[in-house]
């Protein structure tokens, strides 16, 4: 494959590109969806192709094709150059590009059992059993899904990189929907839209769906008759997967350097963060320690090199509440004058690599969920995301969860439905006063992060444990 890549890269450089790199991918996926004990969707897919980018002046040119014939590869390099060159009509200063070590290396996701080697019948049966059981227990719609990806990636650059990586990802989940009189309620496990990790079939086996079907079915139906989440300002306790999404939306996107530089302004938006405030801006309370770590074994955004050949690394993002780091690539880092963070990835061979969250997580504290509840006089404990919305500066957010639990005088006293909370990013994080420890720290994964034009779906990780936020507005309703 490296010869194919070199043919395309040489073609781009010989045409006049000052830098070029390319990736050939063989991407396999298996997606299974079941409903009420029956298969709703089963698809196996395999795609092969090349994506090549060329840097000319102030712009990237990118071309991708499924055709790996020699003539097509040569043409791909020329086209990438020509596409970049056409940008000269509306150009700016030359785009700088930071150097990273030139390496030849390979990496495969550690795993016990490749999910594509496991019988699809076994995988389907797992979902059929779980959804059938929930349906029998009274769920209006019992759903389950499993997704597996096996991506082989060859990367080369005009600077001499030659990197092979085989990334294996597995995930899925189950949910029970209850339909009542003019309302629906849902409970999901391990989290809404499923939980995803790097690894093989062992990831799914570890979920033990069968141990959660009864609880999901019962809770979804009980929610229909539960009282509404109270409206007001009170203590909010967030379960880990909801906190993971809170991190994703109000920290992860805000620290993307391409957003901070205005490169994503039209679609994804910008950020409330300004580079001049790096190492000064107070992001949250002293309990807030966020790192972006692409080396965490088993987390969803774990790899050895990003799609620019930069090594995976751990970067401090927030230290004791102070903003200290960004998510960057080789071009954005050079523009901002920071070290490239190895956080650039693309959604398949047909997309231009861009800044993507790695495993952006909140380091654990020293408390526990039990202790947090016991020390709360008046609050709501919310579990499992149901809706999420945040403005384009990543400041003003509103989240809804599947279930809330009213906490009074240190005890959970009642289930409440339609729990929502809203806030402003630095104020909210500034109110975090209790954080559970390592025992409850989970590498939550988000497989559906949308960004970029043309749109790309990213896989990101967000390690988190439960936490408490004082004086939060809850119970917002239409």
């Amino acid at each position: 494959m490296f010869e194919f890549l070199e043919l395309a890269i040489d073609s781009a450089v010989n045409s006049g590109a000052k830098y070029s790199d390319a990736r050939i991918l063989i991407s396999k996926s298996r997606n299974i969806a079941a409903k009420n004990g029956e298969v709703e969707n089963y698809n196996e897919s395999e795609k092969i192709g090349i994506g090549i980018r060329a840097l000319v002046g102030s712009s990237w040119g990118f071309y991708s094709t499924y055709d790996l014939s020699k003539s097509s590869l040569t043409n791909a390099g020329i086209k990438a150059f020509q596409i970049a060159k056409a940008s000269a009509m509306v150009s700016g200063d030359d785009l700088p590009f930071a150097d990273v070590p030139v390496v030849e290396d390979s990496y495969t996701t550690p795993h016990d059992e490749n999910p594509f080697s496991v019988s699809s019948t076994d995988q389907v049966d797992l979902l059929l059993r779980a959804t059938e059981q929930m349906k029998k227990l009274g769920s209006s719609r019992a759903s389950g899904r499993l997704d597996f990806w096996d991506t082989e990636k060859w990367f080369a650059s005009s600077q001499g990189h030659k990197i092979y990586q085989n990334i294996i990802e597995s995930g899925g989940g189950i949910s029970s929907l209850a339909v009542g009189d003019g309302e629906t309620q849902i409970r999901s496990y391990p989290q809404s839209f499923g939980e995803y990790r790097t690894g093989g079939w062992e990831v799914i086996k570890g979920f033990e769906f069968e141990k959660h079907t009864e609880r999901l079915s019962e809770e979804s139906q009980r929610l229909l008759v539960a009282p509404q989440c109270p409206e007001g300002t009170m203590d909010l306790i967030l379960e880990g997967s909801q906190l993971a999404l809170q991190i994703h939306e109000s920290v992860g996107h805000a620290i993307e350097l391409d957003r901070i530089l205005g490169w994503e302004a039209a679609y994804a938006g910008t950020s409330h963060l300004e580079l001049k405030k790096l190492n000064k801006h107070k992001y949250g309370s002293e309990l807030m320690n966020i790192v972006a770590d692409a080396t965490l074994p088993g987390a969803l955004a774990t790899f050895k090199y990003d799609d620019e050949g930069t090594p995976a690394q751990r970067v401090d993002i927030v230290k004791e509440g102070i903003w200290t780091g960004v998510l960057s690539g080789r071009d954005s880092a050079a523009v901002a004058g920071v070290k490239p963070g190895g956080m650039v990835r693309a959604d398949g061979f047909g997309r231009l690599p861009m800044v993507r969250m790695t495993n952006v997580g909140l380091l654990p504290g020293t408390s526990s969920l039990d202790e947090i509840i016991q020390s709360t006089e008046n609050g709501v404990y919310m579990e499992t995301n149901r809706s999420w919305s945040i403005d384009d500066l990543r400041l003003n957010f509103q989240f809804g969860c599947e279930v809330g639990w009213l906490v009074k005088n240190g005890k959970i006293i009642d289930m409440v439905k339609n729990p929502t909370y809203t806030g402003i990013t630095p104020l909210f994080w500034g109110n975090m006063d209790m954080l559970a420890g390592e025992e409850e720290w989970v590498f939550w994964g988000t497989p559906n992060c949308g960004k970029g034009q043309p749109s790309q779906v990213g896989h990101t990780g967000h390690p988190a444990s439960p936490a408490r936020f004082k004086e939060t507005r809850v119970g917002v309703r239409g």
């Binding site: 712009s59 150009s91 003019g182 403005d391």
Partner: protein, 441 residues
């Protein structure tokens, strides 16, 4: 197209007689020129060729999909599907293959635009903002779609589309605009740029206003977002099957000024004239004077609900998504934008919504924010720009009987949270819209 002809011949050769089979092939060329900080910074071009093979036998169904390069041997590809079929469970939802009478032939060679052509449209847009900071994209698509099935259907179609979408920013404001059409030449880059620049200029130094119920005039993009949510969560027959759709056919759920049609047969419609099953699409009444008339069906949803298929199956979205209309028009009313504003006593004009998410599908309560141009309207006049507001509002109630004051008389293709080129809408004047938070949360 030779690639398709060769592929189809090989599949037929390798297919056992007794198997029902559907073969789909999508060949696409897409390109997108992206600009930020008033310069082009990313410029991409992609050629793809994707194949879906579905086979059905003994009440079992399987689908496998590869791109062209991943099929090294067509015989092996077909055999992989046959092996997969043996492992598959019973498919109770199988609803058969459309027959020969549904065939359609619309393939044509469409000339590609160049990166220079796109850069010209970008330049037209940017120059309207002079010293402001511009960002956005100009994109073009050419798609060729081919379907064959063992029931005698053989269909093909070609489509092209182009879009310009961008914003201008100042230190305190932003304004956006969008245009879409079948060809790059049909885009009004200058008009879009002018519109976005004016919104950004006029909305500088916004004031904060208290949350609450306000009368609103909604711009094209804001209207488009409401309708696309109703499409996906309401009119999609899959939502009905799952018990999550708020739509009740035949009931006066919306204001009588609301009429919604799907118009694949119209000359100006973007996209294919056939759905993913290869069947010719037909114009369809969705809402007539406020009364829902039809869901969007696929073969499976129509079969499950015992209703007539409306041919809204989507390529590549899987059997469990359901169907949505991709040529939807909200029929125009008779009010100019100026007339709508002059009718407002105290309200807000909102150009665009942002990051809308459903709190409960069955009530269609959605939360989201405004952006890229919002103004306070008092006694029939725009008086000042307003800052960020969060709404929490049922989209069903927003268009309910009595809540639609007027419908604009000019429509255009509008962007939405689920994509572009699928909705053409006018502006709307609504009596009440519920804002639940301001800049400070």
């Amino acid at each position: 197209m030779k690639i398709w002809d060769d592929l189809l011949d090989e599949v037929k050769k390798n297919l056992p007689d007794e198997i029902e089979c559907e073969l789909k092939f999508m060949h696409s060329k897409s390109a997108l020129t992206r600009f930020a900080n008033s310069q082009i910074h990313q410029n991409v071009d992609e050629e793809s060729a994707e194949i879906y093979l579905t086979i059905h036998k003994d009440s079992k169904t399987t689908t496998i999909s590869n791109n062209l390069t991943a099929i090294k041997d067509v015989g092996e590809f077909v055999n992989k599907a046959i092996v997969s079929l043996e492992d598959s469970p019973i498919d109770k939802g199988w609803s058969g293959l459309p027959d020969k009478s549904n065939s359609y032939e619309g393939f044509k060679d469409i000339e590609e635009s160049t990166p220079d052509d796109r850069a010209k449209v970008v330049k037209e847009f940017i120059k309207e903002g002079k010293s402001m900071n511009a960002a956005g994209y100009c994109s073009t698509y050419i798609n060729n779609y081919f379907v064959w099935n063992s029931n005698g259907l053989k269909s093909c179609d070609s489509s092209s589309s182009a879009f310009i979408d961008g914003i201008f920013r100042t230190d305190t404001s932003a304004g956006s605009s969008h245009r879409g059409g079948q060809t790059l030449a049909s885009l009004e880059g200058t008009a879009a740029g002018f519109e976005a620049a004016k919104l950004a200029t006029d909305s500088q130094n916004p004031v904060d206003i208290d949350p609450g119920n306000y009368e609103v005039v909604l711009g094209h993009e804001a209207v488009s977002t409401i309708l696309v949510f109703l499409e996906v969560y309401g009119f999609n027959a899959k939502s009905k099957i799952d018990g999550m759709s708020p739509i009740i056919i035949g009931e006066q759920q919306f204001d009588e000024k609301i009429s919604l049609v799907d118009t694949p047969e119209d000359q100006d419609s973007i996209g294919f004239k056939i759905d993913a099953s290869g069947s010719k699409k037909l114009n369809l009444d969705i809402v007539n004077n406020g009364v829902p008339k039809s869901y969007f069906h696929t073969r499976r949803t129509a079969n499950e609900l015992g209703m007539k298929n409306t041919f809204h199956e989507l390529f590549g979205w899987g059997e469990n998504f359901g169907g949505i209309g991709t040529n939807v028009k909200l029929l125009n009313g008779d009010k100019s934008f100026e007339d709508m504003i002059s009718d407002v006593k105290k309200g807000i004009y909102i150009n665009e919504f942002w990051y809308c998410r459903v709190l409960d599908p069955i009530t269609q309560v959605v939360t989201g924010l405004n952006r890229n141009g919002s103004f306070l309207v008092e006694n029939g006049r725009i008086t000042k720009p307003v800052g960020r507001l969060r709404f929490t509002q049922s989209f069903i109630s927003a268009l309910a009987n009595g809540n639609v004051n007027s419908v604009g008389k000019h429509s255009r293709y509008s962007d939405s949270e689920f994509g572009e080129g699928i909705l053409s809408v006018p502006q709307l004047h609504l009596k009440e819209f519920n804002f639940t938070g301001g800049v400070s949360g």
